[in-house]
C-alpha cells in the first residue's frame, strides 16, 4: 500500500491547518473504514491526521435541552450513554444494530457519518466506479445491484450510504458542527449529504479539509418514543438491506408529529418528508403508515436486483410506527 505520514495534532485548529496545507490528507478516526480502503488502494492519502485524541470525546447536555455529542465519542460509548438511551432511543438502537462490538469500540461519531459506500464496485480498483475514479463509469448500474439505491440515484452512481447512525441522526434534525479553515460552522444534517448527481465523488457539503467536531441534537421530547428497525441478510454484523428510524408523537390517536428516515435506499440517509406529511394530523393506523410509505416511495426507481427494497421499506415503516403507536 502507499506509504503515508502520520500526524497527531495538538488541537482542532492545527488539525484543520494540516489539511489546508496538504492536498491529499485525511482525518483518521477509528479507522474502521479508512484503513481498509487504504489497504485496498481505494483511498490513498499522503498524510493521516489522527484526531482521536482531540478533546472531542464528551457527550454534554445543552441549556435548551438538546445534546452535543463530540466527534470522537466511540459508537459503543454513545450507545450506552444513559441520556441517549432515555431521550433518543432511536440513536442507541441504530448504533447497536451496526457492525460488531469490536468495531463499535473503535468507530467514532464523526467518522461514522463519513463512511464510504459498501458498493462492491467502489471497493474494487479493478472495476469501474465514478465515485472512486470520476469518469470511469458505474459498473453497478447494470451489475450486481441488489444492495444499492432505489431512490435519487443517477446514471453516474447508484450507491447507498452505509451508516445506521446517520439514518437516526437524519430523523432527529441534527446539526453537524464542523470546523473549517476560517472557523466553525453549523450544517443541518438535511444539508450535509449530497445526492450523487453527476459528481458522486462528492458525498457531503463539507468544505475540503473541514473537521466534524460534534453533532448537536435538538431537544425533541417526542424522541423518547422512537425506534430504529434494521433488516439485514443475517441476524448480526451486516449492513442494512432496509432500515427505518422513526419518532412518533401522538395526540390521542392523531399524529401530532412524526420523523422518519430510511437507510439502504439512497446515496444519503433518506429523510422521508413526504411520508411524514401523509401522517401528520391524521389518526394513526397501520394502513395510514403503509400509505405514507407508498407516498415516499412513489418516485423510487428500483434497479434490476433490488425491487424488494420497496415492499421491505414499506413493511418496516408500518412495523416501526405501529410499535411506537402501541407503546
Amino acid at each position: 500500500m502507499k506509504a503515508f505520514r502520520y500526524h497527531r495534532p495538538a488541537d482542532v485548529a492545527e488539525a484543520v491547518a494540516v489539511l489546508a496545507a496538504e492536498p491529499r490528507a485525511a482525518y483518521l478516526g477509528g479507522g474502521t473504514n479508512l484503513v481498509d480502503l487504504m489497504k485496498l488502494g481505494v483511498q490513498r492519502p499522503d498524510v493521516l491526521v489522527d484526531v482521536t485524541r482531540l478533546p472531542l470525546d464528551t457527550v454534554e447536555g445543552l441549556p435548551d435541552g438538546g445534546l452535543r455529542i463530540g466527534a470522537t465519542v466511540r459508537n459503543s460509548d454513545l450507545a450506552a450513554h444513559p441520556v441517549v438511551r432515555r431521550d433518543y432511543p432511536v440513536l442507541a438502537r441504530a448504533l447497536l444494530a451496526a457492525a460488531s462490538g469490536q468495531l463499535r469500540n473503535m468507530a467514532t461519531t464523526g467518522g461514522n457519518l463519513l463512511q464510504r459506500t459498501r458498493c462492491v464496485y467502489f471497493q474494487d480498483t479493478g472495476k469501474a466506479c465514478n465515485k472512486r475514479e470520476p469518469g470511469s463509469g458505474c459498473a453497478a448500474l447494470h451489475g450486481q445491484n441488489r444492495d444499492l439505491a432505489v431512490l435519487d440515484w443517477s446514471e453516474q452512481c447508484v450507491a447507498t450510504h452505509p451508516s445506521d447512525l446517520a439514518v437516526a441522526l437524519a430523523a432527529l434534525d441534527t446539526v453537524v458542527e464542523v470546523h473549517e479553515a476560517d472557523g466553525p460552522r453549523d450544517i443541518p444534517i438535511a444539508d450535509f449529504y449530497r445526492s450523487p448527481g453527476t459528481h458522486p465523488e462528492r458525498e457531503t457539503t463539507l468544505a475540503r479539509g473541514a473537521l466534524i467536531t460534534a453533532v448537536r441534537l435538538a431537544p425533541l421530547p417526542a424522541a423518547r418514543r422512537s425506534t430504529y428497525l434494521k433488516v439485514r441478510d443475517r441476524a448480526s454484523f451486516a449492513f442494512a438491506v432496509g432500515s427505518v428510524a422513526a419518532v412518533l408523537d401522538l395526540d390521542g390517536d392523531v399524529v401530532r408529529d412524526v420523523r422518519l428516515a430510511y437507510g439502504a435506499v439512497a446515496h444519503r440517509p433518506w429523510r422521508a418528508y413526504r411520508a411524514e406529511q401523509e401522517l401528520r394530523g391524521r389518526p394513526f393506523s397501520p394502513e395510514l403508515a403503509a400509505r405514507a410509505a407508498d407516498a415516499e416511495l412513489a418516485e423510487a426507481r428500483p434497479l434490476r436486483h433490488n425491487g424488494f427494497k420497496l415492499p421491505l421499506t414499506r413493511a418496516i415503516t408500518v412495523r416501526a410506527l405501529t410499535e411506537l403507536a402501541s407503546s
Binding site: 472495476k127 448480526s236 454484523f237 432496509g242 421491505l312
Partner: protein, 696 residues
C-alpha cells in the same frame, strides 16, 4: 484399548498456544532476511499478456523483484495445470496470478503490485453456468473415479407408470471456502533444498508436488504445517500460494513470505461449483420409491477438468427398482472449482433431500416416515449389504429428541406473532473411507513414548484424537505420549480431507504401536530408544470393497418474518451414526460446524458473479455473508454408540463432513413448512420471501 483415552473429552493439546497466540502459523515464523511477496491477479478473463512493464514497480521503494512469465524460474509441467504459474502468457480466468512482487516490507510489496503494468490481448469469455449451455458435455468420470452416469431398471417406464411423481430442479450458487487463515507460505531455499512453512491440509502431498514442479528430489523439500487455520478442502493439495512463494524465493535468493488476501482467495484457490440439479422421484401411493433420477450440471475450467460428483449421493441413499443418475459439465473461463466440505454429497443431498420432502407432501405422509419406508440394508449401487447403516435410528432418535411426533404437516399453519414457524427434516450420509498411511512409535528409557506421523490438524482436533488413539494402542496413559504431526520429515501420511484423516492416521499409529509393543515384549522401559514403524498400504489396499457409510438426520425449526421474509433458526438438531467417536469435545465441534456451514449454505452464502468482469464481486466477508451465531438460537449434535468392525482398527467413520450433508435441505424444508413457499434456488434470502403473507 485398555486405558480408555479414546472416547474421553480431552481439550485440544495445542489449545493454550492457540488462544494465547503463541501457536505459529505459516507466515508467523521469524526468518532472518525475510522478504514479502504479493500476488498480482490478471485483470482480464481470457486472453494473452502482450507486455509486462515492471519499471515503475521496480523503482518503488523496497521492491526487489517482479516475477512474471517472462522471467520466473521454470517449472516442470506437472499434473496440475493450475499450478503451472508464471510460465506462459496465457490468461485462463480473471484473478489468475500472473505476477508476484517481492519487497522488503509487506506494504512495499503491495504498492509494487499496484504499479506493475500489464497489457493484455483480451478475448471474449463465457463464465455463467446454464442448463442449455452449448458447451455441456459428459465427462469420462466424476470425482474421484466414479462412473459419470448410472442406470438400473428402466427409469422412464418406471417413472411414467407411477401414481405419485415429483419433477423439480434446484440451483445452488458458487460457494467460497473461507478458512480464517488464508493460503499462506514462508519459503526458503538453502543449497538447492527448499523449506516451506505452508498452510495446507497435507504436507506429504505438498512436498511431492513441489519436488515435481521444481525438479528436485522429495528429500530436498521439507513442508511444515504445524498449525493450520482451516481449509474446508481448499488446501487439500499444493495450491498457488506455495508455488508462487517458492518461485519468488528462488528468484530473489532470499526467504519470502506470501499470504493471499481475502479478496484473492475468492476463485483462484477453488470453490464449490454452482449446480443445476433436476430430480425426479416416483413412488407408489404409500410412498415406496419406484423410480429415482438425478441429473446434475456443474462447471469446470478450461485448463483442468473437475467433475463434482453431485449425484453420487443419490446412488446409495434410498432404494428403488428404476434408477438413473447423470453428470454433465461445462468448461467455462473460470478458475477450476475444487473441494469444499463434502464435495458432491453436500450439493447433491440438498437436492435429493429437498425432493424427498416434496414427495412426502405429494404422497401425504410424514417426511421422516417416508425416509424410513425407503431405507435399505443393501447398497442399491453396489448391490452389497452396508457394513452398518443406522439412518433409521438417527431419524427416530432425532425425531424423539426434537419432538417431531405431533407435527402437523400443513404448511403455513403456525404463527408466533409476526413469525411463521415451521420444521423440516433431512437425511445425511457420507462415505467412510481410509487411505494408506505410515507412522512411527518410539519408546524412551524414561517410560514415555513419541508418536510421529505427518498428519495435519487443520483446526479439527486431529492432533489430540491421534494422541488418544496412540495412548490406547500403546496401553499407557496419554500423559506419557508425545505426538508430532504436521511436518513432511515425519512418516508420510494422507491429507486431512474426505473425512478419512482420523481413520487413516489412526490405522497406521495403531499398527506402529502394536509393532513397538511386540519389540518391548518384556514390559518395562527400554535402556535406549526403541522404535517401530508401520505402513498400512497393503492392509488398506487389501480391504474388501464394501459399502461403508456414516449416516445422520437433521431436524430444524425456522421462523420466517411474515412481512420482511427474514429467516431465523430456532433450533437445529442433528443425530449421527459415525462409528466410534474418539473425542466428544472436538467431535461435537466438527458436527455443529458442518451443520452451521449447511445453514450458511441454505440462507446466506452466494458468490455473485458479474459476467462482464467474469469474477465474483462480493469477494470479502462483509459482502459474502457467512452465518453468525445470532442466526441460530440452539444447535445440538448427538451421536449413536455405533460399532462397525469392517471399518478400520480405530472403528471410526469420520465426522468432518457428515454434518453439512443434508443440513441445507432440512432448513429449506422447514422454510417451506413455515411459509408454504418452496424456494429451489439457494440461498433462501429475504428478497425471495418478502411479503410471504401474500404469497403461496
Amino acid at each position: 484399548m485398555s486405558t480408555g483415552a479414546v472416547g474421553r473429552a480431552y481439550p485440544r493439546l495445542e489449545g493454550r498456544e492457540k488462544v494465547t497466540g503463541t501457536a505459529r502459523y505459516a507466515v508467523e515464523y521469524p526468518v532472518d532476511g525475510i522478504t514479502y511477496g504479493w500476488a498480482v491477479p490478471s485483470a482480464v478473463v481470457r486472453g494473452r499478456i502482450t507486455r509486462v512493464d515492471t519499471s515503475e514497480a521496480l523503482a518503488s521503494p523496497g521492491v526487489l523483484a517482479v516475477l512474471h512469465h517472462g522471467n520466473a524460474p521454470r517449472l516442470a509441467p506437472g499434473p496440475e495445470p493450475e499450478l503451472w504459474l508464471l510460465q506462459e502468457p496465457t490468461v485462463h480466468y480473471r484473478g489468475q496470478y500472473v505476477a508476484v512482487v517481492v519487497a522488503t516490507s509487506l506494504e512495499a510489496a503491495r504498492e509494487g503490485a499496484r504499479l506493475v503494468r500489464i497489457d493484455y490481448d483480451a478475448a471474449s469469455h463465457s463464465t455463467v453456468l446454464t442448463d442449455d449451455h452449448p458447451g455441456l458435455y459428459q465427462p469420462d468420470h466424476v470425482n474421484p473415479s466414479y462412473p459419470t452416469d448410472t442406470a438400473e431398471g428402466d427409469f422412464d417406464a418406471g417413472y411414467a407408470a407411477a401414481p405419485v411423481r415429483v419433477d423439480v430442479t434446484y440451483r445452488t450458487p458458487a460457494y467460497h471456502n473461507n478458512p480464517m487463515e488464508p493460503h499462506a507460505t514462508t519459503a526458503q531455499w538453502h543449497d538447492g533444498r527448499l523449506l516451506v512453512h505452508d498452510s495446507n491440509q497435507g504436507a506429504s502431498s505438498v512436498r511431492a508436488t513441489l519436488a515435481e514442479l521444481f525438479e528436485v528430489s522429495p528429500e530436498s523439500v521439507r513442508v511444515v504445517a504445524e498449525h493450520v487455520g482451516g481449509g474446508f478442502g481448499s488446501k487439500g493439495y499444493a495450491k498457488a500460494a506455495v508455488v508462487l512463494t517458492a518461485l519468488a524465493a528462488r528468484h530473489v535468493d532470499r526467504p519470502v513470505k506470501l499470504a493471499l488476501t481475502r479478496q484473492q482467495i475468492f476463485g483462484p484457490i477453488g470453490y464449490r461449483t454452482p449446480t443445476i440439479q433436476r430430480v425426479r422421484l416416483a413412488s407408489d401411493a404409500d410412498g415406496r420409491l419406484t423410480a429415482i433420477c438425478h441429473d446434475a450440471i456443474s462447471q469446470t475450467s478450461t485448463i483442468r477438468e473437475f467433475a463434482e460428483q453431485t449425484a453420487v449421493y443419490t446412488r446409495s441413499m434410498y432404494a428403488a427398482p428404476h434408477r438413473r443418475t447423470t453428470h454433465r459439465l461445462v468448461r467455462l473461463d473460470v478458475p477450476t472449482p475444487f473441494w469444499m466440505r463434502a464435495p458432491g454429497e453436500c450439493p447433491g443431498a440438498y437436492a435429493l433431500e429437498s425432493a424427498m420432502d416434496e414427495l412426502a407432501i405429494a404422497v401425504g405422509i410424514d417426511p421422516v416416515e417416508l425416509r424410513i419406508r425407503n431405507d435399505t440394508e443393501v447398497d442399491p449401487d453396489q448391490g452389497r449389504p452396508f457394513t452398518s447403516r443406522n439412518l433409521v435410528t438417527c431419524l427416530r432418535e432425532g425425531a424423539q429428541r426434537f419432538g417431531w411426533a405431533d407435527r402437523d404437516p400443513t404448511p403455513r399453519a403456525r404463527r408466533d406473532g409476526r413469525w411463521l414457524v415451521g420444521t423440516g427434516v433431512a437425511g445425511s450420509s457420507y462415505p467412510a473411507r481410509a487411505r494408506p498411511s505410515s507412522a512411527r512409535a518410539t519408546a524412551r528409557p524414561d517410560g514415555s513414548f513419541l508418536v510421529q506421523i505427518n498428519a495435519t490438524d487443520i483446526g479439527t482436533g486431529a492432533r489430540t484424537a491421534i494422541w488418544q488413539v496412540a495412548a490406547d494402542a500403546l496401553g499407557v496413559p496419554p500423559e506419557r505420549v508425545e505426538i508430532h504431526i504436521g511436518d513432511s520429515i515425519l512418516p508420510t501420511a494422507p491429507v486431512a480431507g474426505g473425512s478419512m484423516g482420523t481413520a487413516s492416521w489412526s490405522w497406521a499409529v495403531i499398527r506402529a504401536a502394536q509393532a513397538l509393543r511386540e519389540k518391548l515384549r518384556d514390559g518395562g522401559p527400554p535402556t535406549g530408544e526403541v522404535t517401530a514403524e508401520a505402513d498400512t498400504a497393503d492392509e488398506v489396499g487389501g480391504q474388501p470393497a464394501l459399502p461403508r457409510y456414516a449416516y445422520g438426520a437433521h431436524f430444524v425449526e425456522v421462523r420466517v418474518d411474515a412481512d420482511t421474509g427474514e429467516v431465523r433458526l430456532n433450533r437445529m438438531l442433528g443425530v449421527f451414526a459415525a462409528g466410534r467417536v474418539v473425542n466428544p469435545t472436538t467431535a461435537r465441534s466438527q458436527l455443529i460446524g458442518g451443520m452451521t456451514m449447511g445453514l450458511s449454505m441454505a440462507l446466506h452464502e452466494e458468490g455473485l458473479l458479474d459476467e462482464r468482469y467474469g469474477d465474483w464481486v462480493n469477494h470479502d466477508l462483509a459482502t459474502y455473508h457467512i452465518t453468525g451465531c445470532a442466526d441460530v438460537e440452539s444447535i445440538e449434535a448427538y451421536w449413536l454408540d455405533e460399532r462397525d468392525d469392517e471399518l478400520n482398527p480405530a472403528g471410526v467413520k469420520g465426522i468432518g463432513e457428515i454434518g453439512i450433508v443434508g443440513a441445507a435441505a432440512a432448513v429449506a424444508n422447514a422454510v417451506h413448512h413455515a411459509t408454504g413457499v418452496r424456494i429451489r434456488e439457494l440461498p433462501i434470502r429475504l428478497d425471495k420471501l418478502i411479503g410471504v403473507s401474500d404469497l403461496a
